[in-house]
């Protein structure tokens, strides 16, 4: 099995240090995963129970009501905004 490791690495934004090992591990995992072809398929829903699908359109200010601090774990905050490390080009 050939993996596009470079492409996966960029997609994931995760650096790959031991390319060969990762390649071997992924091959090994995919070998197991490919057993799936021999099972069978169906299109039925896996939800066999009634779920909590909706919520009413009621805004909640959790900063007031639940004493929430959005910046509790943020490393850089300025003027109530999260600062991003490095300059990000506009999308």
């Amino acid at each position: 099995m050939i993996f596009k490791i470079e492409s996966l690495s960029l997609k994931a934004k995760i650096r790959v240090l031991e390319r060969d090992k990762l390649e071997a591990d992924l091959s090994n995992m995919m070998e197991l995963i490919h057993e799936i072809q021999f099972v069978g398929t169906s299109n039925e829903s896996v939800y066999s129970y009634k779920t909590s699908e909706y919520r009413d359109d009621d805004p909640v200010n959790i900063i007031q009501d639940e004493n929430f601090d959005p910046f509790l774990n943020a490393s850089h905050v300025e003027d109530n905004m999260f600062e991003v490390e490095g300059v990000i080009e506009s999308d």
Partner: protein, 488 residues
């Protein structure tokens, strides 16, 4: 006399309610136990301030005679539950300094409605990915049964710290979570009860996700009755979890459904490929049911790898997606190393196993593979679900071992990832089909370490499952760790 900390949850519940021991005294004793068992590396955070505040309230309530169902009972919490104001790390470097800004639905109810006491956060595999608790950024949790052969053993995983702490008597119950067996397999390794209810029974809100459509809260205790008492307080619909079930709550504490005439199925084709000592324990369980008047029937299931393949395909993809949020902007640690702008400094901190699963998930989800991989996974899961819906029309209970083996040595090395994934062979099935399942200690393996028997029933039939588990427990001649080594 048995130490109060070594009692079972239902026993201490009575003693607390009767005022024979103050919640504050008990809490002090628990922290002393924890201190004495530091070598097990079970607690990654102690929440002493919170615990003593809660214990004060419990003390007052018991005195005034309005005790709540779990008033004053010290509980350990797997470190993927958010307890507001406390660290919640999922045992990952990424979240090592993460302070929970809100409280999980389950723990909120346990503290506020049920009166339980939060003593600390328990070790686990990083983001719940692992079966031996060795992927934790805090180092492995150790199985107390290591005493037996003088060799350090894993407690199983991913709720390894939870199982080990319960077995060692450093809490009366521990919250775990179960995505593919993360409560049941460590329960089996540590000789305790591990119970996962049906998918949708407990709210997942405030639990750090691994694979959303598989994750379910679970509980580890020293008896089935304790698990039932705890789960009665944990189950309930949460309108803020869209997958939470709107179903009537069961009454597990009083569950007492007769096994007489029930049909117990066992996958006969699995019996030939596992170790003899494990097969013997399995047969013992089947005999218990036969003696109770149940009808024992062989059933045919697919080979292990069929279920494992679907499980690993879908969970790695969900994990890759769920972990995309650790971008390091609103929260999360970053590496100090300069790794270049193409890579994320927070993702860099994921452990090897987590990265491996993210890569696998990305591979399955990428557009060129979607239909051959991920979508096929969804359809195959649906097929398996269908098969079991049919099966449960004929069979009440499916019984087989919780794990193919006893706890293994901490230094045991897996040859490759797939070999380690085979730790989950028996447990992933319940998560694939959303069934409730429980591991109950049934006996010992060839090196004298605990073995659990795994019971599974159709979704939302917890009362039947717990009734069956109570029966097995009563007839299994198993002596737990505390009674084997401390309270003989």
């Amino acid at each position: 006399m048995i130490k109060p900390t070594h009692l079972q949850l239902h026993e201490i519940k009575k003693i607390l309610a009767d005022g024979q021991i103050s919640p504050l005294t008990l809490l002090n004793e628990i922290y002393q136990e924890i201190d004495e068992h530091q070598n097990l590396n079970n607690y990654v955070t102690l929440t002493k301030n919170l615990a003593f505040q809660q214990a004060e309230i419990s003390y007052e309530r018991i005195k005034k005679g309005n005790a709540r169902p779990l008033e004053g009972i010290p509980i350990g919490v797997k470190d993927l539950y958010l307890v507001k104001g406390e660290l919640a790390t999922s045992c990952s470097e990424v979240l090592r300094d993460f302070v929970a800004p809100f409280e999980s639905h389950i723990t909120k109810n346990l503290w506020e409605k049920s009166g339980a006491i939060c003593i600390g956060k328990l070790n686990m595999d990083e983001f719940a990915m692992g079966s031996s608790n060795r992927t934790s950024c805090f180092g492995p949790s150790i199985n107390p049964w290591s005493i037996k052969n003088g060799k350090e053993l894993v407690p199983g995983g991913s709720s390894g710290g939870s199982a080990s702490a319960v077995a060692a008597g450093t809490c009366f119950a521990a919250l775990g979570s179960d995505t593919g067996g993360s409560v049941r397999q460590p329960a089996s390794f540590c000789g305790v009860v591990g119970f996962k209810p049906s998918y949708g029974r407990c709210s997942r809100r405030g639990m750090i996700a691994y694979a959303s459509s598989f994750d379910q809260a679970g509980i580890l205790t020293r008896s089935v009755q304790d698990a039932a008492i705890m789960m009665d307080q944990m189950i309930g619909n949460d309108p803020l979890d869209a997958t939470s079930a709107k179903m009537p709550k069961p009454n597990l504490e009083n569950a007492n459904i007769s096994m007489h005439g029930k049909v117990v199925g066992y996958p006969a084709n699995w019996m030939t490929i596992i170790d003899e000592s494990v097969v013997n324990a399995w047969k013992k369980a089947l005999n218990i049911f036969a003696d109770l008047g149940a009808k024992i029937e062989p059933i045919e299931l697919l080979n292990f790898d069929s279920y494992l393949s679907v499980y690993y395909l879908l969970t790695t993809a969900e994990a890759a997606s769920n972990l995309a949020r650790y971008t390091g902007i609103c929260y999360g640690n970053k590496t100090k190393e300069d790794i270049g702008s193409a890579y994320n400094k927070t993702f860099e901190l994921f452990g090897e196993e987590v990265k491996r699963r993210i890569f696998t998930g990305l591979h399955d989800l990428s557009s060129e593979n979607y239909n051959l991989e991920y979508n096929l996974g969804l359809q195959t899961r649906s097929y398996i679900k269908r098969q079991f819906t049919d099966l449960f029309n004929k069979i009440d209970l499916i019984v087989y071992p919780s794990s193919p083996r006893e706890a293994f040595a901490l230094d045991n090395v897996f040859q490759n990832p797939a070999e380690s994934y085979h730790e989950d062979v028996f447990t992933v099935l319940a998560n694939l089909i959303g069934s409730p399942a429980i591991s109950v200690p049934i006996g010992y393996g060839k090196t004298g370490l605990p073995l659990g028997i795994h019971l599974m029933s159709e979704p939302f039939s917890e009362e039947l499952l717990i009734s069956a588990a109570k029966e097995v427990e009563a007839k299994a001649d198993f002596i737990d760790f505390l009674r084997s080594y401390h309270d003989k």
